[in-house]
Subunit: 427 residues, 2 copies
């Protein structure tokens, strides 16, 4: 008879039920991969009586975490309850009970990753979290194992499915931000409080995990320069399109001369760039390595089964380690101390929309402000706005974040209105 590996789930929402389903439906492949029978034994839920539409396939519901922690037939704990404080406590207690943990909880990892990994190592336990970034795309493995020998220079990608869906609809169907948000909420793609998605916080947490792994440097949420899509307008998208760009919520993490910068912001990408073709809820992450050049990982960024697949692949890894007797031996999360890049060293191109009086001399004043900061123009588009005012759209050549901030301050002091400012990447 095959050895049985017991799994305990904390949480039984969309992802949790997907995990139960995959373990059940892919039973044969699981056995082939691990040589074991991997069985979900218990599931901790808040309310045992609640009607559930997913079959339990023999698992037992409980409201009591101790039922899992004290069950010696349960070897792997899968945390899919979400939230941070309670989830962290349960995971730490699971390690103390010498159990291994798989989680899809990006908030938790971004906030307490190092503490959790240290606790895992102390207890000889495994901790895996592939599902925490870009759902079904095995990007963390790609970074940690596949490109282990290369020096990662930059990671850039679309890591939030909700906002990518919204921006796709806004771009392709001309829907307003408010309209597409309501639609996404109705379809269940966006939460009733969409802050985490639309303000870029979710993407920022994923970039923290990617940057930490990519650069072996422990960065924090506070180190990410975050801007969301709340203020993106149809006019922004149309003018960007006229100049050959499409807008995406892009996370970047870059190392230069030993210092890193991490940002999340609505960013313009040339229409011909592969990231421009990543539509709807799909995610894609570009990795630039010194030796390998550019590679891209593309796939569904969320969704029940893709996310559950990543969780179950982590369970497979843990079970293999259990069989080989190699659990608790993951290499450290981040071995280098953190050095953040100075704003004067963070370079990119920028797209600006400025409203100004349509009078002789104002365009010259605008130009002077840029020249003063040594910024040259790549593209310019001027359009009449109304009888008295003009709209000027500028795409700069590469310039530093510090310089662009100084230009903005200077325009402001000259009564020109900076309507929008976006980074341009991928040219």
């Amino acid at each position: 008879m095959k050895e049985v590996v017991g799994v305990g789930l904390i949480g039984y929402g969309t992802v949790g039920s997907g995990v139960v389903r995959i373990l059940h439906e892919h039973k044969e492949k699981m056995e082939r991969e691990t040589g074991c029978d991997v069985v979900v034994k218990k599931i901790v839920v808040r309310d045992k009586e609640k009607e559930r539409s997913y079959p339990l396939h023999g698992a037992q519901l409980t409201t009591c975490i101790e039922d899992i922690l004290e069950d010696t037939s349960i070897h792997v704990v899968v945390e899919v309850m979400g939230g941070t404080e309670e989830a962290k406590e349960y995971i730490l207690r699971a390690f103390e009970a010498k159990k291994h943990v798989v989680t899809a909880n990006k908030d938790l990892l971004a906030m307490h990753g190092e503490e959790l990994l240290n606790a895992a190592a102390r207890n000889g336990s495994d901790l895996y979290y592939e599902a925490s970034v870009a759902g079904g795309i095995p990007i963390l493995r790609g970074l940690v194992d596949g490109l282990a020998s290369d020096r990662i220079q930059k990671v850039m990608g679309i890591v939030n499915g909700t906002t990518n869906y919204m921006l796709t609809k806004m771009t392709e169907e001309g829907v307003s931000y408010e309209g597409v948000l309501r639609e996404a909420q109705a379809l269940g793609f966006a939460e009733s409080d969409p802050t985490a998605d639309v303000d870029g916080l979710d993407a920022a947490r994923k970039m923290v995990i990617l940057a930490t792994l990519g650069f072996s440097m422990k960065v924090a949420f506070e180190d990410v320069d975050v801007k969301g899509i709340r203020h993106v307008t149809q006019k922004d998208l149309q003018l960007a399109s006229q100049l050959g760009y499409v807008m995406k919520l892009i996370g970047t993490a870059e190392e230069k001369d030993g210092a890193v910068s991490i940002s999340v912001a609505p960013t313009l990408i040339p229409k011909s760039h592969p990231l421009a073709g990543v539509r709807n809820e799909y995610n894609a992450v570009y990795v630039y390595g010194e030796a390998v050049g550019q590679t891209m990982f593309y796939g569904p960024g969320a969704g029940q089964l893709p996310t559950a697949t990543a969780v179950v692949s982590d369970i497979v890894t843990v079970v293999k380690h259990m069989r080989l007797g190699t659990t608790g031996k993951a290499m450290s999360f981040a071995s280098r101390s953190k050095v953040l890049q100075d704003d004067s060293n963070i370079h990119s191109k920028y797209f600006l929309r400025v409203h100004m009086k349509d009078e002789t001399g104002t365009f010259l004043a605008l130009t002077k402000s840029f020249v003063q900061e040594n910024i040259s123009f790549d593209k310019i588009l001027q359009l009449p706005l109304d009888d008295e005012n003009a709209e000027v759209v500028v795409v700069t050549h590469s310039t530093s974040k510090k310089q662009i901030q100084q230009v903005c301050a200077s325009l402001d002091s000259q009564y020109m209105e900076m309507v929008s400012l976006y980074r341009v990447e991928g040219e």
Copy 2:
């Protein structure tokens, strides 16, 4: 002092010198990743006196394989000599000497993969070969670890950089097959005997490795239905383009109802498909998993540093295993016995070019031939060819390989000339 892990190279061509360079230049990251000092100690070459443009960074050249096999300070043997028989013998002897092996040799893996993996396991050795497929893209790790829990349904991709470069030039610049081959040879992208690339043999070997890993089924080179790009004409590309397609040399491996089919052939892809945008020497592999849906891995398919990066990432994996005491424990190559798909069960759409007499009734005869096999048309394009003959281009709806073969035989017997026949994928 750090533990030193000794590496012995067999072969010192492009990839070998890239390995030496990356180990040297990324020394700090290697130490961080593995906790060891990874040093190339000896390199086996045919001719010690030959002028070499790459620095050796302290490695010692030898013409004698025993210098590596008998050196107990060498733990990892990297085979980058190419070829199959001699390389196989050296690798088997390395295992007997209890050394671990990393190779980039796809021909060897496609032909003798199982034997080598068994020999590795018997001797407690590791054998890794990420670089053998799609150079810098960590696709094998993606298949084996990242999607371990999913049931892989189909793997489809561009896995040969030379032919992709050639087809890109033919499509975008209108160059003939002969012209672009000469150009590729001059640039060093194609060998003086280009057979392995242009006849699809190289791609077929990679598909053998991908199919074996994806389906855990030991398939052989003979199981691949291979067609190369030698007979692709400008006219084919132009007519395909008129109907919205671009041509790529596509490898597919598909499992349906427990049986697999593997093919390599010039294939038409809709221009909007992400694979259509994979240009020049880049590679990309789509993986369709039952649960995850579609994911794609994209990157440089060849080249010194991308390939060397994959080799060195494998060395990192081996060194980690050495430190953890877990070498020689890779799971088996292929645990299921082989079942090949019947031609009547292999379905796809087809693009056909037929030349026929421009007379009343011939088009009806053509149509009847298709109706007889129950094949319906998706697109039709008829053009005059000369005074007496017409060219008809047909794209069928999905049909079986067997049916399309019968139609071809039937057209042939009616004196219609089948000029070209290509599969259509990705719609």
